[in-house]
Symmetry: C2
Subunit: 190 residues, 2 copies
């Protein structure tokens, strides 16, 4: 693996663990095993390197979500697959955690991939839910965009509850709660 790649991956890890404010160029260099001069040769500075890392993490998150949402199965099965997919709950969401970083969110360049990732996720989730509604799996009264936002929010908020408790349990509870509500929203139950 070349230096550029090691720098990007180290930055991804540190942004996930410590956020933008908590991540120093020095720490990145140490983790990547690269020198000062090397880093500044390939990237103009911390914001530039962070941008590359955030874009990479955004791609990966999108791919993982799409794997669940575009798999074969009914709409509810695919949403369930998204909610139940294996996660390192206590580490939180590598993209979602960036929304708490004032300096990152204040930069249009750095916020853009974060924004686009969640916009895409909500849209894709809404498509799946709309299919489910059209196919009679979900009550016609549920607005796909709103249900989608709620489902995505349960996951992001689940991370918050889990980290507060230092336990994955509240995350799992929230997911089960969301699944039960979706089941209750099935027309069969109406």
């Amino acid at each position: 693996m070349d230096t550029v790649e090691r720098l990007i991956q180290s930055t991804q890890e540190l942004l996930w663990e410590r956020g933008y404010v908590g991540t120093s160029p020095r720490a990145i260099q140490r983790r990547a095993g690269a020198g000062q001069g090397s880093m500044y040769h390939h990237f103009s500075g911390k914001p530039d390197l962070a941008l590359a890392a955030v874009r990479r993490s955004a791609e990966q998150m999108r791919a993982a979500a799409d794997a669940a949402l575009s798999a074969p199965g009914t709409a509810v099965e695919r949403v369930s697959a998204y909610l139940l997919r294996e996660r390192e709950v206590l580490r939180g969401c590598p993209i979602g955690r960036l929304t708490q970083d004032p300096d990152l969110i204040a930069s249009p360049d750095l916020r853009q991939p974060v924004d686009e990732t969640f916009a895409w996720l909500r849209r894709r989730m809404a498509e799946v839910l709309a299919e489910g509604r059209a196919g009679g799996e979900l009550a016609p009264g549920l607005v796909p965009e709103e249900t989608a936002a709620a489902v995505v929010a349960v996951v992001q908020g689940g991370y918050v509850l889990a980290r507060a408790a230092a336990s994955p349990e509240p995350f799992d509870q929230a997911v089960r709660g969301a699944l039960a509500l979706l089941a209750a929203g099935a027309p069969a139950a109406s």
Copy 2:
């Protein structure tokens, strides 16, 4: 207002805006209009001052949530009041945002008030939902603890989506989505 009070309130504000890692003693002193010596006279250091500030914010969040959840009205009305209560959405949750702070979450003392606040909120929400279920407002199939975790997670995740989008809209969508799912979980709809 005395110096101690100004220091605590300034720390509350800065922790909300910038988190623990992003908040320096220097910045606190400047905002509070207090000198170096003054701060270190009243508090042993940054962790000590942060603890006082986090406890204060936790009290305030709990009081605000309890106002909605213990108000008169049906269970669903009270949960709705909690979800719909006035919020500065783009600023995020002053307690929830702290869960993204590795140094804070790594300290048992500092994490404790955060943990207790969400534990209390989930418990209180579950009580209200259990009342609603007992009173026939909610389907017997909905487990109060799980539904409670989902509802609280929708709010915390809603903040994440809103900050990513730099707009309160996704938060409001998620809340409407959650309310619709709760309505779909009413036995009248079964």
